[in-house]
């Protein structure tokens, strides 16, 4: 399934190492030349990890390495390689002596051994790890290619080329330049008109003007933001277990906006990591803090909260280290880092900044696990204000009406009648819809599923709970607090609706007062095995209720062994097979049922004393519980007002319509509230959790307690910042920090040039690669800080360089010398990212709908991608494509289900977004070929591109082919290319001429309707030409 490029890969891996060896006169540098060898081969047993340390020898510390050992020899004798036991052991033929040990699987190459010898002979000088040493800004070096210098970048690049005896390439042609810059800055290709305008602009500033224009395009923020979302691990689902939908897209909008308004990168960092902690944080800043909520989360039944909370904090710590520090701290979760100087304790100190975030371990499988932030639109805010005004007005009217009432109690001063109220039983609802009792923890062998009236029968309220089972199945909750109190003579009830098409064999209600041994069973009494029949543990209620209608099931509490005084904390709905709907459940309990209307306030108070109706407002209840004589004047007034408004036969009619209006306004407010967008944000617990080192990373093996702090190898927190996430963010962007700006400019470099100056963009630690151009990296890093972390300025700097503007043509000899183009003797050339491929093709075909922001959309994907993997109860199991313009939005708006990402994206190396990704692989596979040839989206695009070519491309085949070719490559075809295209057109035309049915099928299979004014055969042939154009290597390559 893959091509065998082993030879090429191997060649590319050696170029830099080779140059270091051949330049024998260069002084060996520990960091560049020696440390990678020691780190790869020796540090595992002779490095920083105390637990693995062998023979007490550390080779990462010079003072230990050069001290005399028991044998009388030192591992390293400076200036004398042959006296150094390090070299002797490496060269030893004795398997017991040989280092690295034979069974380690490691061995040194002769070149590596030479480097070690030279280094020792030169004095064995050590250096601290390069990336932990603050960047030093050096003057850009002189070069012997001054005509190639456009800015400082080129001086660094050219001077390195000189060392390696390479020459820069000439500048690329103008068409290549505008295409390259347009793609790099906006993620879309230039239009033929834009190319023409650029070619027509002969002024020396034409290129710069073009770059400036692109930096101002709103497409810039979309493209740059999309790249950032990989790093932030943004997704539209929770990522674990059910993998239900989540709402975080306002964070995506924030990211796009930040790039478009050129937010300085330091602010961008602070707002994402600690925006919620900023004094007077704005809505935007809180939304930005969604960065910390992008981690995958779970609600899998059976999970242990403590373990899950640890995972979340570890994930957030790793996000910080991967995205900003360019370090992998993963190792330190379980043990001190073997290669980098970060101890396990330091890891947990860093982790403690995130361990006190207030989101719960279980996300509840809901769209918006708190903490969340509501984001009303301007219209919604206006409506909110309108409704508030209406409420106020209504309240005023009520008060006015109240003041008009002159109520005199008819019983005032008369002898009071005796209590004649009857004892009855009233229905009390314990739960209805999805409003379960407080504290209830929903569990079951499948997730609870609530359906609205539009999807199934509902007895009362808005929803019922439903489930389909093939065998025994339970939904239950426990933990309700304060619970449901049982009184003498009470009975319990619930409403059930059995699907007539698929009735269960048996159904059961179970009640938990500490045990579940209280059951009532209807239907096949043997189907559900729980409990001994005809005892309180399994009361038989008889046959199954009638199907196809709502039936009230009721059972006496005493019959199932529930004694007066106990409290229920749980309830279970059990069924064997079939489809059931359950709704409203509760208790019939004894209570005083007073009349609802009174003429006399005294009589009403009497009726409510001393246990007032629970539906009354709490202050009214409180007042009614007190003897009349002991009420405060305020309470007396409250009671009187309440009586007049709600109870008194003579006056309540006046108020009823007003209260109806209040209810209506309240309902509107509720609806509005539900319609308002919300997003997940960060928030800290008021009281931070204690943090401990976790032994071997196990959540339940607590070691030493730790405080918040940053690794000692890095600078301390700046003065005056709070010791929380906000302070941590400010630390990252403090000018003395050696990593952040290097890491970020390196990623920009990677974006434009294909490979970072540090190739391992995610790892600046000892195991990462050495920068190809360390002085350039430092110069760019300091420049970034010096210019106020100005992102657009940094991007422009890179694009303005002569290095960037070089032609990407490569000669065989240069290819052999530098296959990966690490030294940049030529311009960048590599395949587009998945999103750019799709967006460019939609753009060229005229299908792309450019609309910034909003919720994620679901363009076409093959059927069954989600269903194949999803949990039955997941709300992202069934994929339903959107319709209309949502099919053609830019790919960064595509809904990202993290356990089954969009296949047209992952086929082209887009990550799953389960983890932070700062460097995508770039593969070349037959599955990619199939996708570009046959994916419905690309066929649709070919169809529309063909239409565009026919309608806009002139009359001749040549002019049309040129026009189409320009849409995908920006340039004109060569005459040889034109010959191939003409021949292909001729053959395709002949094929469809011979089979018009096929032409018809091709043009009517997609979402776009066929333009019937076009000739069928011609349109079909051009569709295949467009399909060919879309599939050109050049179309998807920079």
């Amino acid at each position: 399934m893959q091509l065998r490029f082993a030879a090429l890969i191997a060649a590319s891996a050696t170029i830099l190492g080779t140059s270091a060896v051949t330049a024998a006169d260069r002084k060996i540098e520990f960091n560049r030349d020696v440390r990678p060898i020691l780190s790869n081969n020796c540090y595992l047993c002779h490095g920083p990890d105390k637990n693995q340390l062998q023979a007490g020898l550390r080779l990462d510390q010079r003072e230990v390495a050069i001290e005399k050992r028991e044998s009388g020899q030192a591992a390293i004798v400076p200036h004398d390689a042959m006296a150094s036991s390090l070299i002797a052991r490496i060269l030893s033929a004795d398997p017991d002596q040989k280092m690295p040990p034979v069974d380690s699987g490691k061995s040194l190459t002769p070149a590596e051994i030479t480097i070690l010898k030279q280094w020792i002979d030169q004095g064995a000088e050590y250096q601290g790890h390069w990336s932990f040493i603050p960047a030093v800004r050096r003057e850009p070096p002189a070069t012997k290619f001054p005509s190639h210098v456009r800015n400082e970048i080129d001086q660094f690049i050219l001077s390195r080329l000189e060392i390696d005896g390479l020459e820069p390439s000439s500048e690329a042609d103008l068409v290549s330049l505008i295409r390259r810059a347009t793609i790099d800055l906006t993620g879309l290709p230039p239009t033929p008109a834009e190319v023409d305008a650029f070619l027509a602009d002969t002024s020396p500033e034409a290129y710069e003007r073009m770059v400036d224009r692109l930096l101002l395009s709103p497409r810039y923020g979309e493209h740059q933001g999309r790249i950032w979302l990989d790093a932030a691990r943004y997704g539209d689902t929770h990522g674990l277990h059910l993998d239900n939908e989540r709402s975080l897209w306002p964070y995506r909008e924030y990211v796009i906006g930040a790039f478009n308004q050129n937010m300085p990168f330091d602010r961008f960092t602070i707002e994402q990591l600690g925006g919620d902690l900023l004094p007077d944080a704005t809505i935007e800043q809180k939304v930005a803090s969604g960065f910390n909520r992008c981690n995958v989360s779970t609600s899998e039944g059976g999970s242990i909260d403590d373990e899950v909370l640890v995972r979340y904090a570890v994930d957030r710590t790793e996000a910080l280290s991967t995205v900003f520090l360019g370090l992998t701290l993963q190792c330190a979760v379980c043990h001190s880092h073997k290669f980098d100087p970060v101890s396990q304790k330091e890891f947990y100190s860093l982790y403690s900044y995130f361990y006190s975030m207030s989101d719960r371990a279980m996300d509840g499988n809901v769209l918006l696990p708190p903490p969340l932030l509501k984001l009303p639109t301007a219209d919604q805010q206006k409506l909110q204000r309108d409704l508030d005004e209406q409420s106020t007005l209504l309240q005023q009217t009520i008060v006015a009406e109240l003041s008009k009432v002159n109520y005199v109690d008819p019983l005032a001063g008369r002898e009071l009648p005796a209590d004649a109220l009857t004892v009855t039983r009233n229905e009390m609802v314990w739960f209805d819809d999805d409003a379960l009792p407080t504290g209830a923890q929903l569990q079951g062998d499948s997730p609870w599923q609530f359906v609205p009236k539009t999807e199934g029968p509902v007895f009362s309220g808005e929803k019922s709970s439903t489930r389909t089972a093939t065998a025994l199945s339970q939904h239950f909750f426990t933990g309700a607090e304060p619970g449901l109190k049982i009184s003498e003579g009470d009975s319990l009830y619930a409403y059930v609706y059995l699907d007539p098409a698929n009735p269960p064999k048996s159904i059961m209600l179970q009640f938990n007062d500490g045990t579940w041994e209280h059951r009532a069973n209807w239907g096949d009494e043997d189907a559900i095995g729980f409990g001994a029949k005809n005892t309180t543990a399994k009361r038989l209620g008889g046959a199954l209720p009638k199907t196809g209608e709502w039936v009230r099931l009721e059972v006496s509490a005493a019959d199932v062994g529930l004694q007066p005084g106990i409290k229920l904390n749980g309830w279970a709905f059990t069924q064997f097979g079939g489809t059931c709907y359950w709704d409203r459940a509760g208790i019939m309990t004894r209570s005083v049922a007073p009349p609802t209307e009174f003429h006399s306030q005294i009589a009403w108070e009497q009726a409510e004393f001393p246990t007032p109706n629970k539906s009354l407002p709490v202050p009214i209840q409180d007042a009614l519980k007190i003897e009349a004589a002991k009420r405060t004047p305020d309470q007396q007034k409250q009671l009187r007002d309440h009586f007049v408004q709600y109870v008194n036969t003579g006056t309540r009619a006046t108020f009823a319509p007003l209260f109806a209006k209040v209810t209506e306004v309240d309902q509107q407010k509720k609806n509005l509230e539900a319609a308002i967008t919300a997003t997940m944000v960060s928030e800290d617990l008021p009281q931070p959790r204690d943090t401990f080192v976790l032994i071997r990373g196990a959540y339940d093996k607590k070691g030493e307690k730790v405080e918040r702090g940053v690794p000692s190898v890095l600078p301390p927190l700046p003065d005056g910042v709070p010791n929380n996430r906000l302070g941590l963010a400010k630390w990252l962007v403090s000018p003395s920090h050696p990593l952040t700006s290097r890491v970020i400019v390196n990623r920009y470099w990677q974006q434009f040039f294909g490979t970072g100056i540090v190739k391992t963009a995610e790892d600046f630690g000892a195991q990462g690669t050495w920068p190809t151009h360390p002085e350039l990296l430092d110069w760019l890093a300091t420049e970034f800080i010096k210019t106020g972390w100005d992102v657009k300025r940094m991007h422009k700097l890179m694009l303005m360089s002569g290095t960037y503007r070089q032609s990407s043509k490569v000669s065989p000899s240069l290819l052999a010398r530098d296959p990966e183009n690490l030294l940049l003797a030529r311009g960048p050339r590599f395949r587009f990212d998945a999103e750019v491929i799709r967006d460019s093709v939609l753009f060229a075909s005229g299908l792309l709908v450019e609309k910034t922001g909003g919720k994620s959309v679901k363009p076409y994907q093959p059927e069954g991608i989600w269903e194949a993997v999803a949990f039955v109860g997941s709300n992202t199991r069934e994929f339903k494509p959107d319709a209309g313009e949502s099919l053609y939005r830019r790919s960064l708006y595509t809904f990202w289900k993290r356990t089954a990402p969009p296949p047209s994206m992952s086929t082209f190396d887009a990550p799953s977004r389960e983890n932070c990704t700062v460097r995508r692989p770039r593969t070349n596979t037959p599955l990619q070929a199939l996708a570009l040839m046959n994916d419905k989206q690309y066929i649709d695009a070919a169809h529309k591109l063909a239409e565009r070519i026919i309608l806009e491309g002139g009359a001749t085949a040549e002019s049309r082919l040129t026009y189409g070719f320009r849409w995908v490559t920006a340039r004109q075809p060569t005459s040889r290319e034109m010959d191939v295209l003409l021949k292909s057109l001729e053959r395709q035309t002949a094929s469809f001429q011979a089979d018009k049915m096929a032409a018809e099928k091709l043009l009517t299979s997609g979402d776009s309707p066929r333009n019937t004014s076009l000739d069928l055969v011609e349109h079909a042939a051009w569709t295949m030409i467009a399909n060919l154009l879309i599939n050109l290597d050049e179309t998807i390559t920079k």
């Binding site: 039944g301 065998a471 095995g529 790892d763 593969t923 060919l1028």
Partner: protein, 489 residues
Amino acid sequence: MDPRLEYKLAMTRRHFFGRTATGLGAAALGACMNPSIFANDFATGSEKQTYGVMPAMHHAPKAKRVIWMFMADGPSQLDLWDYKPKLNEYFDKDLPESVRNGQRITTMTSGQSRFPIAPSMFKFAQHGQHGAWISELLPEMAGVADDICIVKSMHTDAINHDPAITFMTTGSEIPGRPSLGAWLSYGIGSPNDDLPSFVVLISRLATGGANQALFSRMWASGFLPTKHAGVSMRSSGDPVLYLSNPPGVSGAVRRQMLDGLGELNQERLAEVGDPEIAARIAQYEMAFRMQTSVPELADISNEPKHVLDMYGPEVSQPGSFAYNCLLARRLAERGVRFTQVFLRGWDHHGSLPGSIRQLTKVADQPCAALIKDLKQRGMLEDTLLVWGGEFGRTVYSQGTLTKDNYGRDHHPRNFTMWMAGGGIKPGIVHGETDDFSYNITEKPVHVHDLNATILHLLGINHEKLTYRAQGRDFRLTDVHGKVVTDILA
């Protein structure tokens, strides 16, 4: 000559030999040449040859390919393989604290006030030369008892589905690591260029199944290049995504388009010299070949009736477990390195007996058929078969217990898998558990040990197949794993 091979050779000449004057470097040319097109098949290649990054096998392999029947959601070892006659004395008695020993249990049962023991209601009998105890639920597997090695002492670290299944398939509970199949593709690749080296077959839900989700991370490439990810073959629509030409586009029309495309890409290659273009040309040709080879693979109409009968009546339904097992054999014949067939539904927390009876009806016969089918073709000796899921189930009942109705919670501390074929000692039982099937008493086999053993059988030293990512050399087995030498033939 095989016409497909003939065509491949013709393409190669046309596209590569015909254009040596273009300035394409010799190295790149060599790389584009496809070594395997000259080797008819696995058999003719050297034993030591690989098609991945490993220049040679670390040692002589015993197996050339793997088929893993992945029983997702955790089948009950107690009702299938791990016979515990003593449990009958303990019916509805509490699990002795000395056995449970304070081990963690899921929060689904940790609230239970007691842990009543549920003996299996199913009959066990001894089968094969070595008298392995096998449940009445697996009559077909009982018939091939002499061909398999039953490992009763498997154990894992995770107790919930998501982390446990991620651990079993990728060697890590945390999402993001390469899966076993991706490691194989990366390390030794496959000799077949018309098919992926790692194929995943997801069986449709079966009656009796209580299933959890699968995740594409289970066959993902993690930090390895994407081309090593498993290709999930689908039972409806295109067997491989985007395989079919759009309506109205015949093979001939596609060929015309590809001819034009190839020529234009050649022009560009001559102009700019980027070897990626040569690679792309070759990938388009491979895609074209897959358009033939994959439908041919999925079409079982030429299988003789006696073979179809072996797999059972469901074999004719694409997407069924039986069909997928047959497809796995066809993939193995074509050199696919690793095929993972998923069957979900073993999550029997409640009413286990009824459900498992239904599910084993689906699961038993095709497994045994696959063994027999491979054997009759002489392929069992170099095809490694693995059967099992992410964990086992508890001896105590979840929910109420009767003699013939009970449920079982997740149990990571011991569970049963079986292996067969390529390099595995047949007809043995490895490892033992206590009388409650709650703790391992002999020869524990951890997930990392299993992975180490699988790699070993394929000629790979699990400590040497590494990939540098995020600053360290990663292995499938992390820093653990011991080859289980006792079960090697």
